[in-house]
C-alpha cells in the first residue's frame, strides 16, 4: 500500500510557506500549487457571482417585491454554498450571512438572527418584505466584505482539499433532512451547489490521486454521478423542485451517496500527504 507513511520530504527550501509538509512521497509538494491556484479562481468567480446576485436579491427585498425576491432566493445562495468551506473560514461572516434560527436562543425572534435565512423567514413564512430592509443591507455589506477578505487570503491547502469532505459532512449532518431552507424548501438548490463545490475540489486534485489509486477515483466519481442523476430528476426550467417533492427512496439514495462521499473524501487529505 503506497499510502504508508514515508519520511517527510524536506520543504524548507520552498518559498511558499502555505505549502504543507508532504508525507506521501508519491505526490510532489509543488503538484498542489496549480490546483490550489485554480481553486482560488473558482472561489473568486463564485464570490463575484454572489455579490452580483445578492445585489439583485436584496434590491428586490428593499423594493418590496416579494415574488421577485422569493424567486431569486434559491439561486442567489448557490455561489455561497459552493464555496462554503472557504466562506466558513470567517466565522463572524458565516454567522451573520448563513446562520439558522436554531443557532440563536430566541430563534426567529432573536435580533442576532440575520442573513439569508432571516430574510427567507420574512419572505416565505410571513410572505412580506416588511422590516427586512436592514437585514438586506447587512447581508449585502457582509457579502461584499467576504469577497474582499477572500481576495486577500492565501488559501490553506489542507482547508481546500479538506473542503471536499467538509461539504459532504455539512449535507450529511444538517442538510439532507431539509432543515437548511426550512421556510422556502429550496434545499435542492443548496444540495446541487454543495455537491458541485465538492466535486470541483475533487476534480482539481484528481490527477494527483489517479496515479496512486484509480479505484478510489472511479468510486468517488461514480457517487458524484449518482447524485447528479438523482438531482437531475428534480430539475425545473429555472432551478429545482421544492424539497417536499423529494421521494423517500431518492432521499435515501442521496443520503447513502453523501455518506459514502464523506467517508471516501475524508481520506483525500491523507492521500495527498496533507495533515
Amino acid at each position: 500500500m503506497k499510502l504508508k507513511l514515508v519520511l517527510s520530504v524536506s520543504l524548507l527550501t520552498l518559498a511558499a510557506a502555505a505549502l504543507p509538509r508532504m508525507a506521501n512521497a508519491e505526490v510532489a509538494p509543488l503538484d498542489l500549487v496549480q490546483p490550489i491556484a485554480d481553486y482560488k479562481i473558482y472561489v473568486s468567480e463564485n464570490l463575484e457571482t454572489l455579490v452580483t446576485d445578492t445585489k439583485a436579491f436584496t434590491d428586490a427585498v428593499k423594493a418590496g417585491d416579494v415574488d421577485k425576491a422569493k424567486s431569486l432566493f434559491g439561486s442567489t445562495r448557490m455561489s455561497y454554498e459552493a464555496i462554503e468551506p472557504i466562506a466558513e473560514l470567517f466565522s463572524d461572516l458565516d454567522g451573520s450571512i448563513d446562520s439558522r434560527a436554531d443557532d440563536h436562543e430566541k430563534a426567529e425572534k432573536d435580533p442576532e438572527f440575520t442573513g439569508f435565512h432571516r430574510i427567507e423567514y420574512g419572505l416565505f413564512t410571513e410572505n412580506s418584505t416588511k422590516d427586512l430592509g436592514p437585514f438586506a443591507d447587512k447581508l449585502m455589506a457582509d457579502v461584499t466584505e467576504l469577497n474582499k477578505r477572500v481576495t486577500d487570503l492565501t488559501l490553506p491547502p489542507e482547508k481546500v482539499v479538506g473542503g471536499a469532505a467538509a461539504l459532504m459532512e455539512e449535507v450529511a449532518a444538517t442538510k439532507i433532512s431539509g432543515e437548511e431552507d426550512r421556510y422556502s424548501h429550496t434545499d435542492l438548490w443548496d444540495f446541487k451547489a454543495n455537491f458541485d463545490g465538492s466535486r470541483k475540489i475533487f476534480d482539481l486534485v484528481r490527477p494527483l490521486v489517479e496515479k496512486e489509486d484509480s479505484a478510489f477515483v472511479t468510486k468517488v466519481s461514480g457517487n458524484f454521478d449518482k447524485v447528479d442523476t438523482t438531482l437531475a430528476k428534480y430539475k425545473t426550467a429555472d432551478g429545482y423542485e421544492l424539497y417536499d417533492k423529494l421521494t423517500e427512496d431518492d432521499r435515501a439514495v442521496l443520503a447513502a451517496a453523501v455518506n459514502t462521499l464523506a467517508e471516501d473524501l475524508s481520506t483525500l487529505r491523507g492521500k495527498l500527504g496533507l495533515n
Partner: protein, 435 residues
C-alpha cells in the same frame, strides 16, 4: 450478639477511627469505600467489569442473540437498504457478516497511516473486547417487496406491521428493510458496533431509526437461581418465557421448521417482532398497588401469580378460575397466554429491554419497553397474542409508538459462510463459499 451485629460494629469502628486508623482497618476488614480509597481510585477511573471477555459465537445453525441470554444493554437499529442487484445484496450480506464476526470475536483493528481517518472509532480502546456482543440481522417485508428478484422468496408470514387499536405509530420509528439487534454487556459496546457497521457500509445502508434499551442488573442469588428482570412498570417481565435451553421446545416455538409451508431457505431462521411501547410511568406510579397487580395478573414484589405460589415461576391454573375471581379474565398475563393446550401454538420467546429517552412535550418521562420477541410463525405468535391483548386494561398505561416485523435468516455456518446466503442461493444467485 449475632454475626451481623459484629460486622456492624467493625464497620462503625472503621468510620470512627477515620483516616488515621488505616492499619487497623486493614486488620479488621475495610469497608468498600475505604478499600477503593486505598487502591487510589480517582473519580474519572473507568468502572471495572470482569465480563469484557465474555464471547458469543457468531457461527451456527441459528443466528446468535435469539436464545442467547439477554445481557444488560440492547439496541434495535433499522435501515433503508440501497443494495438492489444480487451482487450488491451479496456484498451487503458478506460485509455485515465479516464485521459482525470481527466485533463478536474482538481483536485489534488494522493500523493505517495517521494522515488517514482510523478504521475504528477507538471508543473501546485499541483492542476491541467482545463484551458478550451479539448482532442479529433481520429483514423487513419491504426488503423483499421492493426487489422483484427477491419477492417470490419472501417468508410466507412476513408482513408489514399494521397498527393495533391502541397504537399511535410514528412513521419515523417504524419498519425498515433491515434491522440489527445489537446486545452486549454495555451500551458503549453496542454503540461501537453500530458505528463500525455504519462506517463500513455507507453506500448500501442508511440508518432510519434506532432505539436503545437496558435491563436492570441483579446480584447473583446464593442458590444460583435465576430471576426475570423488571420492566419500567416495576413488574418482572419474562416469567412465562419458554425455556431457551430446551432445544426441542425452541424448535417448536422459535425456529422455522423443516417441511413447513415456508421457503426452504428460511429453515433455522425466526420471525422477529419489535415494538417500541411507551409506558405512562407517572400515571402508573399513581395507581394503587392492588390495581396494578390485577391489571398485570401477578404480585409485584415476587412476580408470583394470584391465588397462591411464592415465585414468578409458579403457574396459574385458569381452569380452576373460569370466572376470573383469582386472576381477572382481562389481566395482561391471562390474555397474553391462555395456558391451554391450544394456546401452546401461540407461544413466543421474548427478549425485551427497557428504554428511556428524555422528556415529552408535556414534561413527562419518555420511557417504556423495547419489546422484542421471536417465533417460528409470526401470525400464530406475536400477531395472535397482540390481538388477544387488544382492549386490555393495561392499554390505559401504555402506547405502542414504533417497531416493525422482520425475518431473521438462519446463521452463518462457518467462516466461509455468511448470513443471507441461503436466500441468495434460493433466488438463483450463484454464491461462492470462500473464507
Amino acid at each position: 450478639m449475632t454475626t451481623n451485629d459484629n460486622k456492624l460494629v467493625t464497620t462503625r469502628r472503621n468510620v470512627l477511627f477515620g483516616v488515621g486508623a488505616a492499619g487497623s482497618a486493614l486488620a479488621t476488614g475495610m469497608t468498600t469505600a475505604r478499600a477503593a480509597e486505598k487502591q487510589g481510585g480517582q473519580v474519572t477511573d473507568a468502572p471495572v467489569s470482569d465480563k469484557t471477555q465474555e464471547r458469543q459465537s457468531f457461527y451456527g445453525l441459528h443466528q446468535a442473540g435469539i436464545v442467547t441470554p439477554r445481557p444488560a444493554a440492547g439496541m434495535i437499529a433499522s435501515f433503508h437498504v440501497l443494495a438492489e442487484t444480487p451482487a450488491d445484496v451479496e456484498r451487503l450480506f458478506r460485509t455485515l457478516s465479516s464485521r459482525i464476526a470481527f466485533l463478536m470475536q474482538g481483536g485489534t483493528p488494522p493500523e493505517l497511516d495517521d494522515k488517514l481517518p482510523p478504521p475504528d472509532s477507538g471508543l473501546l480502546g485499541p483492542v476491541v473486547p467482545p463484551d458478550n456482543l451479539t448482532i442479529t440481522v433481520s429483514l423487513g417485508s419491504s426488503f423483499f417487496d421492493d426487489r422483484d428478484w427477491l419477492a417470490p422468496h419472501k417468508p410466507a408470514r412476513l408482513s408489514r406491521m399494521k397498527a393495533s387499536r391502541n397504537d399511535a405509530l410514528d412513521a419515523d420509528l417504524c419498519h425498515g428493510d433491515l434491522a440489527l439487534q445489537i446486545s452486549s454487556n454495555t451500551p458503549d459496546t453496542n454503540i461501537h458496533a453500530l458505528r463500525d457497521v455504519l462506517k463500513n457500509l455507507p453506500d448500501l445502508m442508511v440508518l432510519r431509526w434506532k432505539q436503545e434499551g437496558s435491563v436492570p442488573v441483579l446480584p447473583p442469588k446464593p442458590d444460583g437461581a435465576h430471576e426475570s428482570a423488571r420492566n419500567f412498570l416495576g413488574f418482572r417481565d419474562g416469567s412465562a418465557n419458554p425455556d431457551a435451553n430446551n432445544n426441542a421446545l425452541m424448535d417448536k416455538i422459535v425456529w422455522v421448521p423443516e417441511n413447513g409451508t415456508e421457503p426452504e431457505w428460511t429453515r433455522g431462521g425466526s420471525y422477529q417482532a419489535v415494538r417500541i411501547i411507551r409506558n405512562f410511568v407517572e400515571r402508573w406510579d399513581r395507581t394503587p398497588l392492588g390495581e396494578q397487580e390485577r391489571i398485570i395478573g401477578r404480585k409485584k414484589a415476587t412476580g408470583a401469580p394470584h391465588g397462591g405460589g411464592n415465585t414468578e415461576h409458579d403457574v396459574p391454573d385458569y381452569s380452576k378460575d373460569p370466572e376470573g375471581t383469582v386472576t381477572p379474565l382481562d389481566a395482561h398475563i391471562r390474555l397474553a397466554n391462555f395456558r391451554t393446550k391450544a394456546s401452546e401454538a401461540n407461544l413466543i420467546l421474548r427478549r425485551p429491554f427497557n428504554y428511556s429517552n428524555g422528556v415529552s412535550k408535556s414534561g413527562q418521562l419518555e420511557q417504556g419497553l423495547l419489546f422484542i420477541c421471536y417465533q417460528a410463525d409470526l401470525e400464530k405468535g406475536f400477531i395472535t397474542v397482540q390481538r388477544q391483548l387488544d382492549g386490555e386494561p393495561l392499554e390505559e398505561y401504555i402506547k405502542p409508538i414504533g417497531g416493525g416485523f422482520f425475518f431473521t435468516p438462519p446463521g452463518a455456518q462457518d467462516e466461509s459462510d455468511f448470513v443471507g446466503r441461503t436466500l441468495l442461493e434460493a433466488a438463483g444467485h450463484d454464491v461462492v463459499r470462500k473464507s
